[in-house]
Symmetry: C2
Subunit: 211 residues, 2 copies
Amino acid sequence: MTDTKEKILMAALRLFAREGYEAVSVSDIAGELGITKGALYKHYKNKRDIFDSIVARMFQVDAERSRQYEVPEEQFDQSPETYEDVSLENIRRFTLAQFVFWTVDDFASHFRKMLTLEQYRSAEMAELYNSCLVAGPVAYMEDIFREMSKKGVLREADPKQLALAYYAPLYLLIGMWDQADDKAALTTLLEGHIARFIQMNAVGTEERKGP
Amino acid sequence: MTDTKEKILMAALRLFAREGYEAVSVSDIAGELGITKGALYKHYKNKRDIFDSIVARMFQVDAERSRQYEVPEEQFDQSPETYEDVSLENIRRFTLAQFVFWTVDDFASHFRKMLTLEQYRSAEMAELYNSCLVAGPVAYMEDIFREMSKKGVLREADPKQLALAYYAPLYLLIGMWDQADDKAALTTLLEGHIARFIQMNAVGTEERKGP
DNA sequence: TCATTTGGTAAACGAACGTTTACCAAAAGT
DNA sequence: ACTTTTGGTAAACGTTCGTTTACCAAATGA
């Protein structure tokens, strides 16, 4: 069965996320499935191959996700007076989806932790960690905020500074998730942060802008 | 010489911070100093003992630091009209000092990275990482902000939400430091963040409060 | 039906691991 | 001056590592 190959990948990911790549032995992975380590080499050519397959899988998952999120296209025919609300609401929903993805989703959550543990081992891992979880998302938000400032949805401000202020709490709360006992409180904090950010930075929360 | 013992500790810390504890061999550590691994056992009883000594050292460094930062006591006899400025300026300086400590300081920087890599291995490491770098600092800022709100230096707001908004960018920038090529830009971003935070949350940046 | 492929076991491989031992030169103590 | 301690080397210990090999039963395919 090719089902075993999948089980190996997930078991390895779970172990890599907790212990780090080097600290996990091939026997450990095989032991998780109740098979011998010899059987493992029928599915992967070596230990590194498992790791590489995990990374490749993440690229695949990410491609599917961005295909899904890109151009929903439905709300662009709104009247100008409600555009900012829709736009901000989109950001809010996107942010919550990001949070859920990196914390609740089994694969993404374990992958994030694995990447956290491997980020200093090589420039490649550092770049991957950075683009997935740090500078990548910040740059993404910066683009969005620059656009929104230009359209008058947000007050004038350095979009890089805005992106930092917006994304950093999300990043920190993701990092707190794994060992938080009250996970609902974290979600509440995140929602509070988003609401606060919109209230302080959106045009139209104090005076409403006419069409 | 007891100087060798210190060199072993620092070399081990440097390696643990890059590779993680399990991925570093005793030979690796000895090799960094140009001695054999046998010699290493004249200074530490085993590999774990080196790790524990590093952690103990951090506690020691931290104790010295908090002794140094606690009760500078010099500015508490200010007139009420300048109190908020002093208070906010203290926070600004404290924040920058924290940032420099966890990024530039050789021991603290490596210790932070090591802790980042070990945080999922045991509850003890998770707690240490959390108290040093995540929930600990947030709770600390929360206390400060609650006090400042009560004294009217800050606008009314949930202090937990304030602490998250204030500390998270610091946390993210610390994490970006290691592999940033333009470190000055990060410092600029941090200073921008602090200035922005004070401007948006301090009472008196729009209307000055009389005595 | 019979050859082949698949997915598994058990054992062995050399290398590397953390640790211990036997030994030694130089420094320190008395 | 002689003993002890200190800080080092080199080699060996038993264990575990990642990987390979020989073998096998069941599924697959012609």
